[in-house]
Symmetry: none
Subunit: 243 residues, 2 copies
């Protein structure tokens, strides 16, 4: 097992069918992934999951079961969510292949999370907005909804392809460590409080303001220095307006 | 549905679990394939297959059940069999991607068959020897055996990728027009003036502050709405601190 692929987390949110959890674990292990996170699964542990996992039952034993998405991704610096294409506010959208390239480059440096939503309805908007990118698996228009474990298989397959292709030369050096998901959340909280103090933002009539700002700061992949500069600016604003 | 993809047959030989037949049908329909051939399935038709097929039950209704591989592939001019890598007599071996390229080129002219073997033992030697090529899905050494329907999903996914690439690249949509270089320059000017007013930035001792902020706002590819939100925030700051 590659230590680097060990940085890649598959996060299943509110999975309903234990069979899908087991099948996802098998798909992961076939492709060399090992870290399964389950956010409030409906039925786990389960014999059905073990049966479908076959020789990947060890991934189920080691699965991390948590109560919130936050707990699953707090220390991740790259978060990618699977999504259907038609959202009102489009997010930077990756193909499975470009998603895999990013994952393989970044997993060397920090934990990476791939989010998969509920069988029936996918990820919620507030979950999608926690992501740096979305990834969409192209389908036929006649039947667009992949089974959950199948989606895990396709993404994991592309990650393995990219990993095999990479096997050596890596690029993308950045002078600063990337911010974690939690760093960015704190920044956005701080920003929102400041915008309220500035009478620029009315939480009772938010329109799309915070969504747009969240999209902006997630898609740029902030580094830690940038987060600290931006929070410094917000603190300076707070001081000047006397709060 | 593409008439050309309708030339592609998925042939499952002696499938044991009806759930896999249903899941394979769903994977096919998701990727725009429709022709399922079943050579002596153990248990078909089956409610389990229908349940796993979900909205692809029509593929099960139209599935062609035959008694021999010959009947399934007689009129096909290209036959590709899925295989583990270590066969005694090596056959021309394709990756899933090169397999898909061949399928997409050839399906225009004649029916093409993709053979998938039994859950436990795959294709037999005499079946593999009926193939023009073999295709192997790369796996981790720790767990090499993919679930049957997952293998169908990966191959079908690559065929769809090749099909989409063939029929022309598609562009990403964004809901807003991108900001021009000048929009971004004005924004950065505005930001710098505000940071001076906030006593956050000393132009005589700039260190790397503006360089870092410039890198941030250039790399994110701001759209016009975002520029206008950010400039609105800066204006609100200016108003509050009485400038």
């Amino acid at each position: 097992m590659s230590a680097e692929l060990g940085q890649v987390r598959v996060v299943l949110i509110n999975a309903t069918h234990p069979g899908n959890i087991g099948a996802a674990a098998r798909a992961m292990k076939n492709m060399g992934l090992s870290r399964l996170y389950l956010v409030e699964p409906l039925d786990f542990p389960s014999d059905t999951a073990r049966w479908r996992a076959a020789n990947a039952a060890d991934l189920l034993d080691q699965a991390v079961v948590v109560n919130s998405l936050d707990e699953a991704i707090a220390d991740c610096a790259l978060v990618i969510g699977t999504s259907a294409r038609d959202r009102k506010i489009p997010w930077p959208m990756l193909t499975p292949k470009s998603c895999a390239s990013k994952v393989v480059v970044e997993m060397v440096h920090h934990p990476v999370a791939l989010l998969f939503g509920r069988e029936a309805r996918g990820l919620r908007n507030e979950e999608l907005q926690r992501c740096n990118y979305h990834v969409h698996i192209p389908t036929s228009e006649e039947y667009t909804s992949l089974n959950l474990a199948m989606a895990v298989q396709v993404i994991a397959y592309e990650i393995r392809q990219a990993y095999l292709a990479e096997s050596g030369a890596r690029s993308e050096d950045w002078d600063q460590e990337f911010a974690t998901s939690q760093d960015v959340e704190y920044l956005i909280d701080h920003l929102e409080r400041t915008l309220v103090d500035l009478d620029f933002h009315d939480p009772d009539n938010p329109r799309q303001l915070m969504t747009r700002l969240r999209r902006l700061f997630n898609r740029v992949r902030l580094d830690k220095m940038e987060v600290s500069i931006l929070r410094g600016i917000l603190t300076a604003v707070g001081r000047k307006i006397g709060l």
